[in-house]
Point group: C2
Chain length 233, copies 2
DNA sequence: TTAACAGCTTGTCTGACAAGCAGCCAGGAG
DNA sequence: CTCCTGGCTGCTTGTCAGACAAGCTGTTAA
């Protein structure tokens, strides 16, 4: 029976946990600036470097802002980045988990079909992605097409209304993105493939516009899984 | 057009990113010790405190070990904690309201139903979880029951064969676990609820044994979503 | 074989300095 | 007299260097 497991924890981690609970408790109001590092160090009775390490942990968890640019602005309590941090963590875990690509694709097919089934209308953002893709087909610009492709699927995913669904789809998409770009770059005639993908996207949107959600979901299934099977016609 | 957005990033974050890609690339072998902080500082040309902040970020992401206890052992490249880090990050997003609980539960329902549909047989590990739960019901031991409950669902999820599916279900389960425990602790008559949950688990196993996978999936849907709707009978 | 010792590593603190930003104050233009 | 502008002074973050305690490890002497 360890009497005080807390004492075996580095001070910086202990401070990080206490700050974390303080933030989640509302002791530090959302969107409010945190005290300065020196003030935090004094109030916790530790050195500034210890406070800095604790702040880094909280920034990695997305609970406070200010990790990405150098500025004199103090960190703020923010909740916007928590989903991003969760996405990064999930993406990392999937990457290092040596999960077969086929499993990732199968999961994505399942989720996107469900998201499309929940869709009632095609969001304007998804339509503009279609336009971007069409322009990219003209120029045979693989990267622009791919970026718009990703955005299109994510927009559709979130349009269903379930944020967890859109979130996981986005993460899966990130994990698969590398494979997809490589596949596109390896194709002999990228233009033809891009045109076919664009047509499939258009088909999904058309089906949704016609109110045929089940058909749209079916099209999406074939659109996604078709790309990852070697026998792409 | 920003010429060098990288230069506006704190050094410690830049170092963290470079270390991260080095780990994911396999430059540092899995389960191998990282160089010492002093060596890293020299090889990156930065001070030791900068390296330490970068290491804290990677530890928060679950990519390297050694964040929880104080010891002289050097951090190792480890992949075991990434799932836990993802669960924690998602849980944070949930607590903060970035992702509604109802959405997560809906997603979990969808995924678990699919996993059960892919099941051909009930794994022995899941059966032993049932036995553990039965014993916990006798003792009204909420925590033991809960642990076995979690394990049961994860075992079923992985039994379907899709590792991505099992993994994501595990992460979702991690992140919802807190709410579930709170709910169990708040119930007036925990024994009755535990008994009902156990019976529902048994029903799913029975349906799978009988080869009625669709029925089993349906039972799982009601089992999970029923628990999170206030009108639990 | 055992016990002391030296070296290394992490965790932490302190002090220092550059860069950027906000606020204030004085002085000149109108 | 009012207003604008320029510079100055703090303050805060990011980073570095040096120091020391505690714990582990390998070596050496008894």
């Amino acid at each position: 029976m360890t009497i005080s497991p807390v004492s075996r924890m580095p001070l910086s981690l202990d401070v990080a946990q206490r700050l974390r609970t303080a933030i989640l408790d509302g002791t530090f109001a959302a969107d409010a600036e945190l005290p300065t590092e020196t003030e935090l160090a004094q109030s916790f009775g530790v050195g500034r470097s210890t406070i800095r390490e604790a702040l880094r942990v909280l920034q990695a968890h997305g609970l406070i802002s200010g990790a990405d640019t150098v500025s004199t602005a103090r960190p703020r309590v923010t909740h916007e980045r928590t989903a991003g941090a969760a996405g990064l963590a999930l993406s990392t875990a999937l990457q290092v988990g040596a999960i077969p690509l086929a499993d990732l694709v199968a999961l994505r097919v399942l989720l996107e079909a469900e998201a499309i089934r929940q869709n009632t209308s095609v969001p304007a953002t998804a339509r503009s992605c279609l336009a971007t893709m069409a322009a990219a087909v003209e120029n045979a610009d693989i990267h622009t097409f791919h970026a718009a492709d990703v955005d299109f699927h994510v927009q559709l995913a979130y349009a269903g209304g379930n944020r967890a669904l859109g979130f996981v789809i986005g993460v899966l998409r990130d994990c698969i993105a590398g494979y997809l770009l490589d596949a596109l770059a390896a194709v002999a005639d990228p233009g033809a493939v891009l045109a076919r993908l664009l047509a499939e996207h258009q088909g999904i949107v058309d089906a949704l516009d016609a109110g045929e959600t089940d058909h749209a979901a079916e099209l999406a299934v074939h659109h996604i899984s078709g790309f990852y099977t070697p026998e792409t016609p």
